[in-house]
Subunit: 315 residues, 2 copies
Amino acid sequence: MDDRDVSVREAGPRDGIQIINGFMPTAAKTAWIAAEAACGVREIEVTSFVPAKVIAQFADADAVAAAALAVPGLLASALVPNLRGAERAVAAGVRKINFVMSVSRTHNLNNVRREREESVADFRRIVAMARALPEERRPLLVGGLSTALGCSFEGRVAVDEVRRFAGLLAEAGAQEIVVADTVGYGDPALVRAVFGAVASEVGPVPLAAHFHDTRGTGLANVAAALECGVRAFDSSLAGLGGCPFAPGATGNIVTEDLCFMLESMGLRTGIDLEALLAVRRQVAEALPGVPVQGALARAGLPRGFRGAADRALAA
Amino acid sequence: MDDRDVSVREAGPRDGIQIINGFMPTAAKTAWIAAEAACGVREIEVTSFVPAKVIAQFADADAVAAAALAVPGLLASALVPNLRGAERAVAAGVRKINFVMSVSRTHNLNNVRREREESVADFRRIVAMARALPEERRPLLVGGLSTALGCSFEGRVAVDEVRRFAGLLAEAGAQEIVVADTVGYGDPALVRAVFGAVASEVGPVPLAAHFHDTRGTGLANVAAALECGVRAFDSSLAGLGGCPFAPGATGNIVTEDLCFMLESMGLRTGIDLEALLAVRRQVAEALPGVPVQGALARAGLPRGFRGAADRALAA
């Protein structure tokens, strides 16, 4: 890894399918995960350990996790909203756990039904649980901050609030902080302000960005975060997704468009773009009637495009 | 004007409709122009003075220009590909003429049927013609460089070629240089390289950016150009558009999404976003069957959004 290496983490099997109508068959989910890993995607958020009565789509979390953990070379992460979810993830053998809470108090109450301070306390319990495990079963622990660039209920969120909760999660033991624009309120200036503030608060803890493209600014926000030194981005194949408890939310930034922009800029994703477009077609066929987004799939790669290898001059 | 003021120039009545099927009625064009000017859009490229046998959509160029010139407070510009078009524009009373040529030799041959050096020579003749006019009829002359970030025929275009032709147009008398990503090959790193090179070549001549969103990078490219000091952007309401002689080209960046991002960043467009969304609906109704793009129209403004006035801290 050097400064030109960027980690694109597929969030589609979790964030991309949580609000679609109908259950995506477990075999289709695991085929998607394996196929995308084969394109060079090295980290995928494969499922969510939430109660099946809250999101029925993840009733098969254990089975999906087991299949994903068997994919060679893949880091399979899972979202957890609380200690119970983290315990289930550990029992399933998951090695990277994405704990998430909201910076917006109202969104946190709607999404996980508790005050933000209770979420931080729950994360402390998750850290204690993980630290008590033998090293070979101990997962990496991520602290995720949703609605960090705005909230459908509260509007703009104060940068100092994002900084404060990032600091609390880092202090509690988060090994990575994910800053998420859950409802697509971000712009490049706000991204620079928020990531700058969070970076100065959490010091050496690596930051990742999770952007939604709700109002068209997703890739512009990526470019701004790159300037802040961020080198890890969540995205969703075909831009699938949205949050069931955030009115007006639409999908994550589009994985294939993100990879195109990064490679065009001379940054290295390690991902085969043509292969990725083929997996996109496979996933779209497995989700009939679900809207797909994305510019690259419509327009195709530029003539003569060879990715980062060809882009040293512009990097 | 200070560094926070940005000029958003509507290109839809020219670039947005040149490849649609069917003739947009003159009255619908002029209603669009007047309605968008009433939103606070101060410059609109209202038509193209090309032969009607080349693009039938602009057979009414004189009538559209006459109507646009009567709109209070509006700077109505027009595209011209050659001296004959510039003479027609001047006869129509147009006060800003956008001459365009391609940096890509192949695209220039396809688009205006001449070598690039012949296009530069033609621009010199346009400058001489304009300078011979009495001051009250003399138009502002813009030098536009299409395919400056890539070409469907030639692939990537050398930055030094863009610099060279920008220098030739500035030397010939261009009072503004427009750098255009005609087919949406750009990325933020390339934008910084190209605009940096052009700015150093043309010195005090102001630069404008004309981006297409073919591969999803349009607004990211705007953010990169803003960092290079660019404060003028072409766009198209609802992302209408594309070039008839550039295979795979799709529409310009979306005017309303661009304005949202700029205002959210604390930059001032002077444009009423809610009013702009109403004009979008009017134009879409006047163009039945023509695909429209745009995220803001689908998602709506963020809760509590008040535009640049509210954004001083993040600017």
